[in-house]
């Protein structure tokens, strides 16, 4: 093995320029793949986190059917005790109860239809990031009674400030007239147009009173501490809610993908097009390798003929060709990863942007400046595929050795 390795290594440098050009193709593709995959992984996780943490959460417990067509009447009984019992029994997750309704919100001069959300202020601040994004005034507190926080755009449209009054007009759970007068205590700015334009939040007890809900609510939102633990947590909640919390019907326990199916699909769509691009890069590198190794086999026809006539098996020569390819691909991988990681590491600190990125990323709850995330997987994935692709491409030249005939081969110039 030692001798073969030496032989393979020396053979590589018989045409140093050709070897370097082939290695260069690998290095180029590897740098690109390390950067792009790290960038992609970083973006996807950020996209998921930002989208979910704002309001949706990781898991929601609702009445079956509510998610598809949310109606005020599709409630869960004893929503606060349900949230409380979840907090007590499920490890590694935070819970908060919500109720949601619709009302016409009016200031002195304007009226807009809005989505009203009743929240438990202190636990809401743990499960969602919106409470932290109040830019004027403050977020709700548990002892607030007639307070409300509203979005930036809505505040502008209604022409109101913190301290002003807001009148709500809608219909309650039982079809009765629902009306309330609240004081704006804070204005949030979250970068998502629909939320800023359409949503207001008020304390849950007041909401239940205003909309005649009694002790009912619409969902319990959960945020898990470890993203990977979501399926297990969903199972745990399903077991708990099925076996007993004196509810007659089983509850719907929805994970983030059921709550926001578009998110995963958008990522899948983006992945599909990215993998198409990566695939093309790998194929182009593979062609480069096939070309180089075929040349190197063809120009050594005479040499191989001599060795074959000395009694060496063709299989050994095929192995030699593969070993050469592996060395070349290994070199491309090492240099590619080194440069790729160096480049990406710099960008993870400085971040980067390009014209138009900010406008586009807003649509996906992403910042205008991107920071790729290096991880062992994001580093090794692309280069490993290039390595395998190179070996695969070298099979044809390597197997060609088998149809050499010693005498004819020696006659070749």
């Amino acid at each position: 093995m030692g001798l073969e390795l030496t032989l393979a290594w020396r053979n590589l440098w018989r045409h140093a320029r050709r070897t370097w050009l082939t290695v260069g193709a690998m290095v180029f593709s590897n740098i690109l793949l390390v950067f792009l995959i790290s960038f992609q992984f970083g973006t996807y996780q950020l996209m998921i986190d930002n989208t979910l943490s704002l309001f949706t959460g990781h898991i929601q417990i609702q009445k079956p059917g509510y998610h598809q067509e949310p109606r005020l009447r599709d409630t869960l009984n004893d929503i606060q005790p349900l949230a409380q019992s979840m907090r007590a029994q499920v490890q590694g997750a935070e819970f908060s109860a919500r109720a949601m309704g619709f009302a016409l919100a009016s200031s002195e001069t304007r009226s807009y239809g809005v989505q009203v959300v009743g929240v438990q202020p202190e636990s809401e601040a743990i499960v969602s990031s919106l409470p932290g994004l109040v830019t004027r005034g403050r977020y709700l507190q548990d002892d607030d009674t007639q307070a409300v926080v509203i979005g930036e755009t809505l505040a502008r449209n209604l022409k109101i400030q913190p301290g002003d009054e807001l009148t709500l007009l809608g219909s309650g759970w039982d079809g009765s007239f629902a009306a309330d007068i609240l004081t704006v205590v804070g204005i949030f700015s979250v970068g998502v147009a629909d939320l800023e334009r359409l949503m207001i939040q008020m304390p849950l007890p007041r909401f239940q009173e205003t909309f005649s809900l009694g002790n009912r609510g619409h969902s319990v939102v959960a945020k898990v501490n470890n993203f990977e633990a979501i399926p297990a947590t969903v199972n745990r909640i399903q077991n708990l809610t099925a076996s007993g919390l004196d509810h007659n019907k089983p509850l719907a326990v929805l994970d983030w993908n059921q709550l926001q199916p578009g998110l995963k699909q958008a990522i899948q769509t983006d992945m599909a097009s990215s993998w198409f691009m990566y695939g093309i890069l790998v194929i182009l590198v593979a062609f480069s390798v096939m070309n180089t190794q075929l040349m190197s086999v063809l120009e050594r026809t005479r040499e191989f003929g001599i060795v074959l006539s000395l009694g060496l098996r063709a299989g050994r020569l095929s192995k030699l060709v593969m070993l050469e390819t592996a060395l070349m691909a290994g070199l491309g991988m090492v240099i590619g990863i080194a440069l790729g990681v160096a480049l990406t590491a710099v960008l993870t600190h400085t971040g980067f942007t390009y014209p138009g990125l900010e406008e586009m990323s807003q649509k996906f709850n992403l910042p205008g400046r991107m920071y790729p995330q290096l991880s062992p997987l994001s580093i090794i994935l692309g280069p490993a595929i290039i390595f395998l692709g190179s070996l695969l491409a070298a099979l044809y030249p390597a197997l060609r050795v088998h149809w050499l005939k010693p005498v004819e081969a020696m006659g070749a110039v």
């Binding site: 320029r17 050709r18 050009l21 082939t22 260069g24 193709a25 180029f28 593709s29 067509e69 949310p70 109606r71 005020l72 009447r73 619709f102 009302a103 016409l104 009016s106 002195e108 001069t109 304007r110 009226s111 807009y112 239809g113 809005v114 449209n157 809608g170 219909s171 079809g175 359409l198 199916p261 578009g262 998110l263 995963k264 699909q265 958008a266 990522i267 899948q268 769509t269 097009s273 198409f276 691009m277 093309i280 890069l281 182009l284 062609f287 480069s288 096939m290 070309n291 075929l294 040349m295 063809l298 120009e299 390009y354 014209p355 138009g356 990125l357 406008e359 586009m360 807003q362 649509k363």
Partner: protein, 413 residues
């Protein structure tokens, strides 16, 4: 002098380049495949991306974005009935009544829609049916009932999802509630005369249509309007229209689509950037193999080049020969690549159905059907860039070949 002395050598240069190309046909075929796959991937990827962006834009254009919109200068910031405008002056009407322009006028305000069971927020569109039919797609997608038959119609048309959420149906009554300019609640009951469907579910609960004159009476605004929308033949060429209208309508807010929806406007620019980057990346991945092939092709016929030079062919003609060989390789590869493009794009002419990721596509703002769209400028850019950059890559091997010393080249091996 150079030209005079070398123009008649073209014939022999051609013959040498062509025959040398096929001397090592395996290598040439591998390289041709690489160029073909590379250029195929370039153009197909670009055409699908273009198709998606075009689809996003056309889709939005037909969902009340239009090519150019006219508003009261304050309306876009505060889309209330307070910020209304008088009808267009005659001069502007006369201009817009000529082909190729299509236009219509609207009342467009936020409102609350209520059934006996539920209340929700909608955008109330007071429209002129004949004009709206020429601009927008929703009025044509009626699943039950019919669209409004006049601007004075007493009925309302809503989306299928909204009807489900309101738990109402065709023929039943709903109540529309909005504010008039004095912030008084304006409400009125409407029978549902039609239900529309949309390719994106979210659109089905967003808009409710009533007649323009009915809306003007409801809101007590005389003949005032919220919005005028104009469409021309092509969303790419709206600047003339936009500038003309700006001159005709001083004191009004005239805005082209790309300023009304900055996400879409940016997408168009980002696509141009992506096209260029993608072409260059693929080319670079190809270039290593290309240079390698050319270097090898020159290397293995050093003696022959020495001989040709000794016989009196000028260095410039040697360079021509290598560059011509490069050009032939590129052109043949591109020819194959473009054939593959046709074979891909023509069968997919009707688009690919992506229903499994429909909600993800919706997040991007696209419909679940993906069409390839091949722009002439992209096609020229891809092919042109490959040829120009490919010849540049061939320049170094060609130059080196032309600088050989014939004595040394002849004594090689």
């Amino acid at each position: 002098m150079n030209v005079a002395a070398t123009s008649h050598t073209w014939g022999i240069v051609w013959r040498l380049a062509w025959r040398n190309l096929w001397r090592n046909y395996r290598r040439t075929l591998i390289m041709l495949s690489a160029i073909a796959i590379g250029s195929w991937a370039m153009i197909v990827m670009i055409s699908f991306m273009r198709g998606m962006v075009d689809d996003m834009i056309n889709n939005s254009v037909q969902h009340f974005l239009g090519h150019v919109q006219i508003h009261n200068p304050h309306y876009r910031d505060d889309p209330s009935i307070v910020n209304r405008m008088p009808p267009l002056p005659d001069q502007a009407r006369q201009f817009l009544d000529q082909p190729p322009w299509r236009w219509s006028q609207r009342i467009r305000v936020p409102a609350v829609i209520s059934s006996e069971r539920e209340s929700l927020g909608v955008e109330l569109m007071g429209i002129v049916p004949e004009g709206e039919m020429t601009l927008s797609s929703l009025p044509k997608q009626i699943s039950s009932g019919h669209f409004l038959n006049s601007a004075d119609s007493d009925g309302i048309v809503i989306g299928a999802r909204l009807a489900r959420r309101l738990q109402t149906e065709l023929g039943k009554r709903v109540v529309i509630m909005s504010q008039d300019p004095d912030n008084n609640i304006a409400d009125r009951g409407f029978p549902i005369v039609g239900i529309y469907t949309a390719s994106m579910e979210s659109l089905e609960e967003r808009y409710a249509f009533i007649g323009l004159h009915t809306a003007q009476r409801l809101l007590n605004v005389g003949n005032s309007l919220s919005e005028v929308e104009i469409q021309g033949p092509d969303f790419r060429h709206v600047d003339n229209l936009y500038e003309t209208l700006q001159q005709l309508l001083p004191g009004r807010d005239v805005a082209p689509w790309y300023r009304l929806d900055t996400y879409l406007g940016t997408m168009l620019g980002v696509m141009d950037g992506f096209v260029l980057v993608w072409i260059v990346v693929i080319f670079l991945a190809l270039s290593f193999g290309l240079v390698n092939t050319l270097v090898m092709a020159v290397y293995e016929r050093v003696r022959e080049i020495g001989l040709i030079m000794a016989l009196g062919m000028r260095p410039a003609a040697i360079m021509q020969q290598i560059l011509l060989e490069t050009l032939l390789l590129l052109l043949l590869g591109l020819l194959l690549g473009n054939l593959l493009v046709l074979l891909t794009v023509i069968p997919l002419h009707d688009g690919i159905e992506l229903t499994s990721v429909a909600e993800g596509m919706e997040m991007f703002g696209a419909t679940p059907r993906l069409y390839p769209v091949l722009y002439a400028k992209d096609w020229c850019l891809a092919n042109g860039l490959v040829i120009v950059l490919g010849l540049l890559a061939g320049l170094l091997p060609a130059y080196r070949a032309s600088r050989y010393d014939p004595v040394r080249a002849l004594s090689k091996h």
